[in-house]
């Protein structure tokens, strides 16, 4: 058949018209839209039976109750536990993203042994038996050489059975070097010990206070138990409680307070003394309390009147005289005033002067151990283990002084001084530390002057990390013995930070361990058993779970059922008899040490000529800066005025920027005596001129690709400043300069 032109055209046109009239094109369009959307790699979550498990979140010291929603054996959502005394259903953003830590790529999946150089990230998998026996062998060698004191342990906490097992292990082994991560609790503990003679937890009855003076405490920026503080903050809004925030930068807490008073950084103690001056001079103090329960008032009073008149204080703090006087009167005349300190989220200590001055303010208005005041909360006493058996080697080892100098002649009453450790290691003595264990802590990231800390760590022959995640410390360890994450393990969780009522929570496995990890409690028990002798005898338990069950006794069943135990009717220790000082009173002047509430400037590093600006850190609840780094969800909440791409912004007052010739978004080099880094400029009216503020929590070199390599670690730019009275790190900033990049 011959196809002519006419025939061809009618065939093509007819065919096209026919196809257009048929459902085919529409069907194909529909199909293509389905095909382009129904890709097999878009996951379809499997359905199953829903259930809930109650547990406790241990990602910070806030210890919220959590209810985890499960579908079959998968955990799909973490929610706050209703009725829990800390959070009653509320939950912070870090706790809400806990499942990203459980199932995340940053987990260490099996025990790892380093093969390359330290920090190179070359590992080989080893079995648990090999890993534990390797550690045991090393420990046995150190001990047989008669150097048990050269073994140290850094722990995120010193409370609860797990931390107590670490401590017990070291004692039985013969080392005094158990170290807790620093926080403002160190300052409070020491202050309470010196002024009240008690070793207790600082508790704050915020719920019943009606006039809050906060010396830079980030009440809603992560200080204390963050969800409890949020709840308290909301209650204050309804009850018309006055909140005065004193700090150089407009934090969220400052923005939400009734009054923000900008202060020259590091002069908080001077202001506290100035307030005391007005209160004493105008006789606004609680005369009955001072007369009956305070020792050393008159000596102190004369010093206060003499040295801290409002004009002097005004020139130190940069706050005008009138404001100081009005604040002092407001504080003293309120029915339940409360003063609190600990900058930002409270993970760094303050100088002893500052903490004592703030505590003295509370004493002046008589709110120590009273409703709406500051309490010395005693720890729930449920851990009663048999005496530690000590052989001659252990006894000899324990004779040595602690490496960090805590409890030494210079700092007799400070309990832990971890920031001093790098210096001791560096000071030349041959291997003062031969083995170091790290659990629930990430000192290579969180310690000031990270480079020095890393150099010090490099001199320790064996570093063992118990981290569940590949954090900076784990990355630079020789062995990683990964712990279960908090959603896979049992652990008792005692009273949350800053609470006045004793609470014991039980963290329990929500899901089975996802990887070849092991409970750190079990590993310690196995290490002890491996060492044999008196060390093994000190650990009569087969496993951590049986140890915990035995320790809790009747409480175990209660906790398994309820999830937490709390003494809701907790009463403050009666304020008249709760002092265990030499005089039996609240001591404004401690006669043994001569400690007295006063102001001495903390001399920070750098001189003004080379470094015209002051660098201070700031904390945001959206940036976790402790041993946990931000999971991907939390990173999503970080504003683009804080982090853009890989660049972090420093905050500058527009005035400062103008003087330095800088503009918004400009790339600059930030230099301090400790290091330099490239950052970008963000202009912010909420910061005092002359200051530069950098957020903490960024600049990770480890963790996952969602967090690592973004921004700068504040701790790389600052070093510790030793408080001469306590040995604690009292640095509040460092001198700095900015130059165009």
């Amino acid at each position: 058949m011959k196809i002519g032109r006419r025939g061809f055209l009618s065939f093509v046109i007819g065919g096209a018209a026919g196809t257009a009239l048929s459902p085919l094109p529409w069907k194909m369009m529909d199909d293509s839209s389905i095909w382009t959307q129904m890709w097999p790699w878009t996951p379809v979550p499997e359905d199953g039976e829903a259930s809930y498990v109650n547990s406790v979140c241990t990602l910070c010291s806030g210890h919220c109750g959590i209810t985890v929603r499960k579908i079959d054996n998968r955990a799909v959502k973490i929610e706050g536990m209703k009725g829990h005394p800390v959070n009653n259903g509320g939950m912070c953003l870090l706790g809400l993203s806990g499942l990203q830590l459980l199932y995340g790529p940053m987990r260490v999946k099996t025990p790892l042994k380093r093969t390359g150089k330290r920090g190179q990230g070359q590992w080989k998998k080893i079995s648990w038996n090999d890993a534990v026996s390797e550690v045991v062998e090393k420990l046995r060698d150190i001990r047989s050489e008669g150097n048990p004191q050269t073994v140290g342990f850094i722990s995120g906490s010193d409370r609860g059975t797990v931390s107590r097992l670490f401590d017990r292990f070291l004692t039985a082994y013969g080392s005094p070097n158990f170290m807790r991560m620093p926080s403002v609790r160190d300052s409070y503990e020491l202050t309470q010990y010196l002024m009240q003679g008690v070793q207790a937890l600082p508790g704050f009855d915020f719920e019943n206070a009606d006039f809050i003076v906060s010396f830079g405490s980030g009440i809603i920026d992560g200080w204390g138990s963050p969800v409890r503080m949020s709840r308290v903050h909301s209650a204050w809004q309804s009850a018309d409680v006055k909140v005065i925030q004193i700090e150089p930068r407009l934090s969220n807490t400052a923005a939400k307070s009734d009054k923000w008073i900008p202060i020259n950084p590091g002069t908080e103690a001077a202001l506290a003394m100035g307030l005391a001056h007005v209160i004493v001079k105008e006789s606004l103090y609680d005369a009955a309390f001072v007369k009956n329960y305070v020792e050393g008032f008159f000596d102190w009073k004369n010093r206060v009147i003499d040295k801290y008149n409002p004009d002097t204080v005004a020139s130190i703090t940069g706050i005008d005289r009138g404001t100081i006087v009005v604040l002092a009167r407001g504080f003293a005349n309120a029915s339940k005033p409360l003063a609190v300190c600990g900058r930002g989220n409270g993970t760094t200590p303050v100088s002893l002067d500052e903490c004592m001055a703030v505590n003295a303010l509370n004493a002046l208005v008589g709110n120590i151990n009273k409703k709406g005041g500051v309490w010395a909360v005693s720890e729930p006493n449920y851990i009663n283990w048999p005496e530690i058996e000590m052989d001659a080697k252990a006894a000899a080892g324990l004779q040595h002084e602690r490496l960090d100098g805590a409890g030494s002649k210079t700092y007799p009453f400070t309990r832990y001084l971890l920031p001093r450790l790098p210096e001791t290691i560096d000071s030349g003595e041959k291997f003062p530390l031969q083995a170091l264990f790290v659990s629930g802590a990430n000192p290579l990231y969180t310690h000031p002057d990270t480079r020095a800390v890393r150099n010090a760590f490099d001199k320790i022959p064996l570093v063992v990390s118990f981290s569940s995640y590949m954090d900076e410390t784990a990355q630079n360890a020789d062995l990683i013995l990964p712990n279960h994450v908090y959603l896979e393990r049992y652990e008792d969780v005692p009273t949350p930070a800053g609470m006045i009522q004793p609470v014991i929570g039980l963290s329990r496995p929500v899901v089975a361990p996802q990887f070849d990890t092991r409970h750190v409690g079990d590993v310690v028990i196995q290490m002890a058993k491996g060492l044999g002798g008196s060390v093994a005898k000190t650990f009569p338990w087969d496993s951590y779970d049986s140890c915990l069950k035995e320790t809790l006794g009747d409480l175990w069943n209660f906790l398994m059922e309820e999830g937490f135990w709390s003494n809701t009717g907790a009463m403050p220790p009666f304020f008249g008899t709760s002092y265990e000082t030499a005089s039996g009173k609240f001591e404004l002047i401690n006669k043994d040490t001569g400690s007295i509430p006063q102001f001495k400037p903390v001399s920070i590093e750098g001189d003004e000529k080379d470094y015209p600006l002051l660098l201070i850190p700031y904390d945001s609840i959206r940036l976790a800066c402790g041993f946990i780094g931000d999971p991907p969800f939390v990173m999503k909440t970080v504003e683009d005025s804080v982090l853009k791409g890989k660049d972090v912004f420093v905050e500058l007052n527009p005035k400062t920027a103008r003087n330095q010739g800088l503009r918004e978004g400009q790339r600059v080099v930030l230099t301090t005596p400790k290091g330099k880094a490239e950052v970008k400029v963000h202009l912010f009216e909420g910061i005092m001129p002359g200051l530069v503020a950098l957020p903490r929590g960024l600049g990770h070199t480890a963790w996952d690709e969602y967090l690592a390599g973004k921004g700068i670690n504040f701790n790389a730019l600052i070093g510790p400043v030793e408080d001469p009275d306590s040995g604690l790190d009292a640095a509040w900033g460092i001198r700095a300069k900015l130059e165009k990049a």
């Binding site: 996951p43 979550p45 955990a75 959070n87 953003l93 199932y103 995340g104 709840r231 909301s234 909440t637």
Partner: protein, 276 residues
């Protein structure tokens, strides 16, 4: 089920956010992401591309140091009702009926498999509450385990937005139906952000039900398409007439004023009367 058969009175779910209580912590954002299988990427600092059904904005009063003030404002989907029911900006423009207004609940839906990604709704939404999936959602190996079966993960090429946790409404309704109850209790259906907020700043409930806390707090005026009678309450871009179902409370005037656009010479908003 035909509308109106079991629910004689229509519900109008809405939200009141107390900006005095809001601390700007961002828990609502994360609670929402965890509840609704929201994806994430390596770099989330370009906020135009970052999918956040709930987003907390930082507002400042623009004053110099030290008078500057900051306030945070969480922004979910406003679930606009428009001037007559269902005339939301996005619903009226969607060519695929991928987004629709539910008369029963007052919630603006988003049906991913119908959406073909023209993004007309995004252009029409004055609140930037809608987000486009420019990429496939990818969870790192193993992390897919936490995905909730109650919310389908979205694919590349579709628009998504806050649904007031509609799946929670469905679950609560199912439960009530099984128990033979025609109506839901106030606390039976709450969004994930409301539940998680540590400050208790978010309140959720039926604006048509005068007994619900949201109605008592915002006091919506039905004669003026829901405009709040509470002098401390305001809605975002009130004057656009979108009739949103999210109300904000603030005792600060500059914050309330930041909720809408004003001409330079326009008079200040009337001073609110303080109660209590």
């Amino acid at each position: 089920m035909k509308e109106g058969r079991t629910h004689k009175k229509f519900q109008k779910f809405g939200m009141v956010i107390d900006l005095d209580k809001c601390t700007g912590c961002g828990s609502c954002m994360v609670a929402c992401m965890a509840e609704n299988n929201v994806p994430f990427r390596k770099d989330e600092s370009n906020k135009l591309l970052s999918i956040t059904w709930m987003r907390v904005y930082k507002l400042t009063n623009g004053m110099p140091f030290p008078k500057i003030d900051v306030c945070y404002l969480p922004r979910p989907c406003m679930q606009c009702e428009g001037q007559h029911e269902g005339h939301s900006p996005c619903v009226s423009v969607c060519p695929a009926i991928a987004t629709d207004y539910s008369m029963e609940s007052g919630i603006v839906s988003q049906i991913y498999t119908r959406c073909f990604g023209c993004r007309y709704c995004m252009a029409s939404c004055p609140y930037h509450a809608r987000y486009f999936n420019w990429w496939d959602p990818i969870w790192p190996d193993g992390m897919e385990k936490y995905l909730s079966p109650n919310v389908s993960p979205r694919m590349r090429g579709v628009v998504e937005k806050c649904s007031f946790c509609f799946h929670r409404y469905q679950l609560a309704k199912d439960r009530a139906f099984m128990e033979g109850r025609p109506e839901l209790q106030e606390d039976e259906y709450q969004t994930a952000c409301t539940q998680a907020c540590p400050a208790g700043a978010i309140t959720f409930g039926d604006l048509n039900n005068p007994k619900h806390t949201v109605s008592k707090m915002a006091e919506p005026d039905p004669k003026h398409s829901g405009r709040p009678k509470n002098p401390n309450a305001f809605r975002l871009l009130e004057r656009l007439g979108t009739n949103p179902k999210v109300y904000y409370l603030s005792s600060r005037e500059w914050v309330r004023r930041a909720g809408d656009n004003y001409l330079k010479n326009e008079k200040k908003v009337k001073k609110p009367v303080h109660h209590g």
